[in-house]
Every structure is written in structure tokens, then in C-alpha cells.
């Protein structure tokens, strides 16, 4: 990392905090998000747009469930499994939740080791995160095939309201796609970290620009968001 150039001595003054800081940061012609690089700011803004996408999906599901005259299938029973002869309601979803939370934990630690410039630990923790993510997608594939085998289709199912299938495939499918892309994103960045790109200031293949360990945190933001969306899906679709 190159040494900071103090070419604007006025900016080293402490910024006001609280509401005065909010007004000062947004006022006049300047960089609004202090302390935050363009990469991190843009990831946050992308995540905000993604929040609206998933918000609309969950809203559409709410409308379908509230306006149907046919009873909604009981998710507790639909997603139950027989394990060693015992009937466990919603057990697969609970395991998937724990897997995704664990992946978030390892990701948070990867960010920490990244800023310590611990190349190996960061790469290993990111790979563990990717492995948890792949496990999650695998369990989701199992869940989908089980439901399809039981006759759930986007236009109907054996237990009740036809909209159950379309809501389920739409919401979990979009979330699973996000997890899949997250795993690919993690693998790409983990490879760069492992190779030492951010220590040797190797230039990126597409951008021809030097990367920084901050990209680990930006990847982490995306990954935690995927976990965040699952919190809402788990609450509204599976538990409600």
C-alpha cells in the first residue's frame, strides 16, 4: 500500500459527529461517505437495491398468501423430515440456517485476518466460507428435488393454495442464486489473496489496477447480505 499523501491538510481536521456530521457530510461539493472507499460505498448501494428486489418478492408472497381463499400449506409439515425414525418439523431449514450463520462467522474472521495482512489465514477462512455456502446450496438442491418429487409445481401442490409453489421457487431460487454467485465471488478473491496479489500489488486482469485487502471486506458485505436475506426468508416463509 502506498504511503498516504497529505496534499489536503484541511481534511485532516476532525469531522463533526452525529447529526451535525450527517449535514456536513452531505452538504457542499465533496466526497459524501467519509472513511468509506468508492468500492465499499458502491457495494452498499448495490445491496440497497437488492434489498428492494427481495422486499418485493416477500411482498408478492404476502399478497398471494393473504388474498387466497384456499388454505396455505403448513410449512412446518411440508419441510419436515424423518430422521432416525423421529419426525422433525422444519429440521432441514434449521440446519441450513446454522450453516449460513457459520459461514458468516468465518467470513467476518476472514476480513479481520485480511486487514492484518495474514494471507494464508484469510484465504483459508474464505475457502471455509465458500464451502459452507456450497453446502447450503447443496441442501437447497436436496430440498427442491424432494418437493418436486412430492408434486410441488409453480402452478399447484397437493396440500393447498397453488401460489405456494410459485412463491417458494421464486424466493428460495433467487436466494440460492445469490449464494451461488457469492461462492464464485469468494473463490475468485480467495485465489487472489492466496497468490499474494494485495501484497505484491499485482494488477487485476480486467481492471489493470492494484487491489487492496479491502476487497475482502467488500466480498464480506455481499456474503453477510446473503445471510441477512435468509434471516427474513426463514422468518416470513418458513416460520410464519
Amino acid at each position: 500500500m502506498s504511503a498516504p499523501l497529505k496534499t489536503h491538510p484541511a481534511e485532516s481536521l476532525p469531522r463533526p459527529a452525529g447529526m451535525a456530521g450527517l449535514a456536513a457530510d452531505w452538504a457542499s461539493d465533496q466526497q459524501t461517505f467519509k472513511k468509506v472507499s468508492w468500492g465499499k460505498a458502491m457495494m452498499w448501494i448495490f445491496l440497497l437495491s437488492d434489498t428492494f428486489v427481495f422486499g418485493c418478492f416477500l411482498l408478492a408472497y404476502m399478497v398471494a398468501r393473504m388474498s387466497t381463499t384456499v388454505p396455505w400449506p403448513n410449512p412446518s409439515e411440508v419441510f419436515a423430515l424423518e430422521i432416525a425414525g423421529t419426525h422433525m418439523p422444519l429440521i432441514l431449514i434449521a440446519i441450513m440456517t446454522f450453516v449460513l450463520i457459520s459461514s458468516s462467522g468465518t467470513m467476518a474472521m476472514a476480513v479481520n485476518y485480511g486487514y492484518r495482512r495474514d494471507r494464508k489465514m484469510t484465504a483459508v477462512l474464505m475457502l471455509v466460507t465458500a464451502l459452507f455456502g456450497a453446502t447450503f446450496v447443496g441442501m437447497q438442491a436436496f430440498e427442491w428435488s424432494k418437493l418436486i418429487a412430492e408434486g410441488v409445481r409453480p402452478w399447484g401442490n397437493p396440500w393447498g393454495a397453488a401460489q405456494f409453489g410459485s412463491s417458494f421457487f421464486m424466493i428460495t431460487g433467487f436466494h440460492g442464486t445469490h449464494v451461488t454467485f457469492g461462492v464464485i465471488f469468494l473463490l475468485i478473491i480467495a485465489r487472489k489473496v492466496w497468490r499474494g496479489d494485495f501484497d505484491t500489488e499485482r494488477r487485476g486482469f480486467f481492471t489493470s489496477r492494484k487491489g487492496r485487502y479491502e476487497i475482502v471486506e467488500i466480498t464480506g458485505l455481499y456474503w453477510h447480505f446473503v445471510d441477512l436475506v435468509w434471516v427474513f426468508i426463514f422468518a416470513f416463509f418458513y416460520l410464519w
Binding site: 466526497q31 461517505f33 467519509k34 472507499s37 452498499w44 434489498t51 428492494f52 393473504m66 434449521a94
Partner: protein, 111 residues
């Protein structure tokens, strides 16, 4: 782009904090699973689901995504717009009730 690096600040926090939040998320998820396992119903079920959901979401955003250490300018820019979705929810609840009543009136089947 050397000048951006002077602004960017590293988010360095003790690993102990992450492990604590990780444990808390496990406990909260376990509690929300128990809500279903014990088959709680009605207002108690919905309020517990929402409380555990908001606690988990808050922990992830505040600690894992480091929002707690960002400046108010970014916090408000990211966290206030999703609140507007609640207006959309209110609109669609009213619309859903109307559709349900219309269906009952014209197709006659009871829910």
C-alpha cells in the same frame, strides 16, 4: 487513485466480538426454531418470530457488516430507504384484503 486511500479506514475489531455475535446468532436461530417446534400460535408466534428476526438482522448489519462504526451519512443513506418498503406493505395489506373479499363475494368459497 492514491487520494482515496487517505479516506478509507480499516475496520479492525477483536475476533472475540465476532465469536460472541456468532454465538448470539446461533442462540437466536435456535429460539426461532423452537417457536415452530413447540407449535406456538397466534400473536405470540408472530411477535416472537419478528423479535428474533430483527435481533438477528440487527446483529449482522451492525457488527458483521460494520455498520455500527460507519458515519451517520452512510448509515442513513442505506438503512432509511428500506423503511419505505413498510409503506408498500401497508398498501398491499389493504389491497390483499380487498382481493380476498372480492373473491369471497364472487366465488363464494370460504377461506
Amino acid at each position: 487513485m492514491a487520494h482515496t486511500e487517505t479516506h478509507a479506514e480499516q475496520q479492525q475489531h477483536p475476533i472475540k466480538l465476532y465469536l460472541l455475535v456468532w454465538a448470539l446468532l446461533f442462540v437466536l436461530s435456535f429460539f426461532s426454531y423452537l417457536v415452530d417446534y413447540f407449535g406456538l400460535q397466534g400473536f405470540l408466534r408472530w411477535s416472537l418470530i419478528l423479535i428474533f428476526m430483527m435481533l438477528k438482522a440487527g446483529l449482522i448489519v451492525a457488527v458483521f457488516m460494520h455498520m455500527a462504526w460507519e458515519r451517520l451519512a452512510l448509515i442513513y443513506a442505506i438503512l432509511l430507504p428500506p423503511l419505505l418498503v413498510l409503506v408498500f406493505v401497508a398498501l398491499m395489506v389493504s389491497e390483499s384484503n380487498y382481493v380476498l373479499l372480492t373473491r369471497l363475494a364472487f366465488f363464494g368459497s370460504s377461506p
